[in-house]
Structure formats: C-alpha cells, structure tokens
C-alpha cells in the first residue's frame, strides 16, 4: 500500500510538473511578487525543484549549517536554506536526507556526540517547520570525530561546529 501511494504520488507529481512547465512557457512566472524568500531562491522556472537543482540552485547548494559554541540554536542566516531544502523535500517526496551533526574538539567526546545530535535535530525541526516530512530525514551524530579542520583555533572550531545535509536519495 505504501509503495502504491508512492507510485501514485510520483505519477501525480510528474504530470503536475509537465503541466507546470507547459504553463510556464505561456505565462512567465510572477517573479516580482512571491511571498516567501524561498521561491526567490528557487532557480527552476517551474517553481518545483528537481534533482538537477541540487547542483545548480544557489540556495540548495548550501548544505552546511554552522553553529555557535555549545549551541544548537539555528542562526537566522540559515533560515533561507532551511526553507529551500524543506521545499525540496516537499517537491520530491521520494528524496531522503541524512543530517550529520558535528561538534568542535573541545570537551568530552561523548558529550559532543549528544551536542552533534542536538544540532542535527535542530536542523531537522527547522526543515519540518518549513513543511519537510520527518520520515525523509535521518539524524546521525559524529560528535567531534569528523572535523573538517584540525587546528586548535576558533576559526577551525567554527568550521567544525556544523550539520551537513547529505541527500541519500535525490
């Protein structure tokens, strides 16, 4: 039944997408007056994201969310990214993402596993608040085990306090 639903959904979406693109050719999209910043950033003229947009769309290409020290609160500058990734999840119900939570090297490794998970959950919540489905999202915490930068400096720590958005199904 689940698969049936998914097939149906996909079918509906496909026709919708085709219909959309046809319409777009006739009437240029009203770029001037969208209510959210999300649509602004959406590069697709159709208004519906496709897998190709992950590599080309400026907003979707933003796949790393950074955090303040010992914090899991989402900084305001990442709201736009949350909105466009949530839209992608909505537009493509078959897509799946893993949120990889990370911490800087300071403090206990096990506590940092918890902190990394909290950050992953914060991003997951933000995506769901923007309409993404929780069933499309998996959170994994690597704590401080996967640094992108290995100096003991604030610059480096700031780069490591992050959640990476990894699409496991586009």
């Amino acid at each position: 039944m689940n698969t049936a639903t998914r097939v149906l959904l996909t079918a509906v979406l496909c026709t919708a997408a085709v219909a959309c693109s046809k319409k777009v050719k006739e009437v240029p999209p009203a770029d001037t007056g969208p209510s959210t910043g999300v649509v602004d950033q959406g590069a697709t003229t159709s208004g519906v994201y496709g897998p190709g947009d992950l590599d080309t769309d400026a907003c979707l290409r933003q796949r790393v969310v950074y955090f303040d020290f010992d914090q899991d609160a989402l900084r305001p500058e990442f709201q736009a990214a949350m909105a466009c990734h949530a839209k992608y999840l909505r537009d493509r119900p078959s897509s799946r993402m893993t949120l990889e939570g990370n911490a800087d090297e300071r403090g206990s490794r096990e506590y940092n596993l918890g902190l990394g998970e909290r950050r992953g959950n914060a991003v997951s919540s933000a995506l769901q608040a923007n309409g993404g489905s929780g069933s499309q999202i998996t959170v994994v915490s690597y704590g401080e085990e996967r640094p992108t930068c290995t100096d003991s400096s604030e610059d480096c720590w700031a780069k490591n306090r992050r959640v990476e958005i990894v699409y496991t199904a586009k």
């Binding site: 300071r106 403090g107 490794r109 096990e110 506590y111 596993l113 918890g114 994994v140 085990e145 003991s152």
Partner: protein, 439 residues
C-alpha cells in the same frame, strides 16, 4: 631540587636508548616534573648468573622506571651506584646511607630450565638494615616485563601500604591520517606503553573503550555501521558481539563492577539518556529521563551508584544516581564545564575534564575530608578523558599537542607527569585496566 631534577632527566635520557633495544613498544615515554618528597630508593642492576643466554629484559630497569613514574619514589641513577650488590648479604649499608637512600632493592637472575628464568630479589630498609621482602619469581623470557611489574607492585605495597598497579594494562585509540583516509585502531598495552597489541582496526572512528572487570574484554563505540554502535570484544580471542545499535546515539559503555551489566547512553527516545543493560538477557533499564544530554555513566565500586555527565542545569556537570534509577543529585559545583568522570576504587576521589573558557584541564575532586576539595592535575589546554589506575595512585588522560593527541599519566597528587607518545598519529581515549590478578 633542580639538580635532582636534572639528574633525573639525565637518568631517563640514559635509559631510553637501552629501553628501545629491549622490546617493541608503541608509546614513547618521558617524565615531566618531579616530587621533592618522593622516597629515595636504589634498585641495583640484577645480573644474569645463569649459563644460557641472558634475558632481553633488564628487570631492575623496569622496576626502577615503574617506581619513578609513580611519583612516590625517586630512583637512584645507576651511575651513582658505587657498589652493585646482587644479594642481601653483599649490601654495605653505610654506603647506601651515605647516598641518602631510604630503601635498596637487590637481586639476580638465574636459569630455571626450558628457556625460563628465575628472578630472586630482596628489599631492605637502609636505616634499619632490615629485610622487608625476599621473593623469587619464575617466568619465560617473554614474560620478564610482567615479572618486573609484579616486583614493582610488591615493593610499592610493602613500603606505602597501597597495592601497586604497575602490572596492569591500558587501552587507547590511535588515529592515523584525517578525513576519508583516516585509520583507527583500538589498542591494548602494558601500563608503561610496552607490548602494544591491536584489538580492532577500523576505517571509521572508534571511541570510549571500557574494560570488563576481569580484564578480558573491552566494550567500545564504533562508527563502522555509519551510526555509532557498541561492541564488546574479547581481547584474547578477538571475537566480538554487537550489543547496541539503536536509532540515534549508542555511546559511553561502562561495565559494572560485577561484569554482568553495561551502563550506556542511548538516544533512541530522542534524547541521550543513561540505560543499564543486563549482559545476559540484553534487557535494558532506563536510569535517567530528563530533557538534556545525559551521558558518560561510570560505576561506583559497589555497583550501587552511577556517576554521569548531564547538562540538565545548562552546562555539563557531574551528577550521581542510584544504578536502579530515581532522582539524580549534582556532584560538581566548581567550574562551568565538568565531564567524563572517573571514580577512584574507594569512591572518595573523582577526576573530571574541567573546562573554563577555551582551557580544559583534568581536575580532581577529593571528598574524603568532609568538605570537597579540588585540585588541578594537568596544565591544559585541551585535556580530556581521565581514567584512574585501579589503585587510584595515577590518572591517565589525553591531551593535544599541536595537531596530534598524546597521553599523559599523572600522579594523583599532580606532581609527576609522564608523557606517552605514539610515533606517528594521534593517541586518545585512554582507559586504565583492572588489576591482572584477583585478590
């Protein structure tokens, strides 16, 4: 004191090349700092008096290094020994009084047949000219370091009245390379870093090794399945069992003192909580239920209490709770960040990683004197993962030097630190194992 320190350093420098020849080892060791009130002891070289090949291990040297490392003893450099008696009857006590030695250890090595050796040794009180110990031990050539560590344990206990912990092992994680090409290994070595043995290798991070109380198994966290999961591995046979691989975090395993239960952290409920797993049935009992990160459980020696890290009050602090569950109470009140508790066998001392700003040090909370007293055991700046020796005389911990991790063992009074460095790569996540013989 400065001169004695320099002498000490010279002595260590003299020993190192010899030690390198003696046997393979994974960790380089040097000693930082000294203790003016340490007891002077002369461990005289113990000649081989057999007729076959001499053993590779210099037994007296291993004993000397053990005692010096403890911070409780100041070992007389061999170069200062004007006489080298090999038996109690050969000791000229005035000589050793003149050298200001409180104690002297003499001995010799004999053949015991079939490639084995017999070490006979005696410990004397120099002032009283009294024999405190006289023992003989027999072992194969490959076990001579074990013999020496047991000798050091016996000498330590006879003089200080506290069981020695030299004949023990340590576990630690090594990491070579970074990023995708990184290689991790869980290692076990003698307490002085010799005889390193690989327990498991992984291309994914390994952390948080915990010894079973019989010293035969290690529980640890591995990311080899993508997410964190907990394994228990038999060190001798290499066989292992996956015990926790739930959704979310599977972390911070810790064997109960009776070895039948495993405390661990799971976030399968959506939030990291402490659980206790019955290792026979694998049944889980949830111990904490609190909004906040609860992790790093560690047992009191009687198995009745769990100490753990929690940020339920805002920042991470150490709390304690009955192992059966119930209300938790806060243990640490000094410092804005206290984590990774290790508890002494008698429950009186708790060592933690204590953070203040960007500086993390190992700090010791002593609760034996009524009002709790704090002392700092390490200089920082990114020190973590403290682990008590089974006799609580020393604390092993991890530090960062530049881009790599090193281990230190510091005496519980903070006076003597010993650095254990891997030739290439990172060393981290140390865990001091239990005594190797049960009493």
């Amino acid at each position: 004191m400065k001169a004695s320190l320099r002498l000490f350093a010279a002595f260590v420098a003299f020993l190192l090349p010899l030690a390198a020849l003696a046997q393979e080892r994974g960790l380089e060791i040097d000693i930082v700092g000294g203790n003016a009130s340490a007891l002077p002891i002369a461990v005289v070289p113990m000649p081989y008096q057999g007729s076959a090949a001499a053993p590779e291990t210099d037994v007296a040297e291993v004993v000397r290094a053990d005692l010096a490392r403890s911070g409780q003893f100041r070992a007389l450099p061999v170069g200062d020994m004007v006489e080298k008696p090999a038996r109690g009857g050969e000791i000229q006590f005035p000589t050793w009084r003149l050298l200001k030695q409180d104690f002297i250890v003499v001995g010799h090595v004999l053949d015991a047949g079939a490639g084995s050796y017999r070490v006979e040794y005696e410990l004397f009180d120099v002032a009283k000219q009294e024999r405190l110990l006289g023992f003989a031990m027999t072992a194969r050539s490959s076990a001579m370091r074990d013999v020496a560590h047991q000798m050091a344990d016996a000498i330590y206990e006879k003089i200080l009245g506290v069981r020695g912990a030299f004949w023990t092992r340590i576990a630690y994680v090594t990491a070579v390379g970074t990023g995708k090409g990184a290689k991790y290994a869980l290692m076990v070595a003698d307490s002085d870093g010799y005889n390193p043995q690989t327990v498991v290798r992984s291309p994914e991070p390994l952390l948080s090794p915990s010894w079973s109380p019989d010293g035969r198994k290690l529980a640890y966290v591995s990311f080899e399945r993508g997410n964190s999961s907990i394994y228990i591995q038999d060190i001798g046979t290499g066989s292992r069992e996956l015990v926790a691989s739930f959704r979310g975090i599977n972390g911070a395993p810790s064997f109960s003192p009776d070895g039948r239960r495993l405390a661990l952290t799971l976030s399968r409920s959506g939030n990291p909580e402490i659980y206790v797993m019955d290792l026979g049935s694998k049944a889980l009992t949830q111990v904490t239920k609190q909004f906040g990160i609860d992790t790093e459980p560690t047992w009191s020696a009687d198995g009745g209490t769990l100490y753990f890290t929690s940020d339920r009050g805002g920042r991470p602090q150490i709390y304690q709770v009955a192992a059966s569950g119930g209300a938790a109470s806060r243990v640490t009140f000094q410092g804005s960040y206290n984590a990774s508790a290790t508890v002494s066998y008698d429950g009186k001392k708790i060592a933690v990683a204590q953070g203040s700003g960007n500086v993390y040090r190992i700090a010791l909370l002593d609760r034996s004197l009524g009002s709790p007293r704090w002392s700092t055991l390490s200089p920082g700046s990114l020190d973590e993962s403290p682990s008590f020796a089974p006799n609580a005389s020393m604390v092993l911990y991890a530090a960062r030097e530049g881009r790599r991790g090193v281990l230190y063992a510091v005496s519980a009074d903070g006076r003597v630190r010993q650095r254990l460095v891997l030739a290439d790569g990172d060393v981290r996540e140390p865990a001091w194992g239990p005594y190797r013989s049960q009493r």
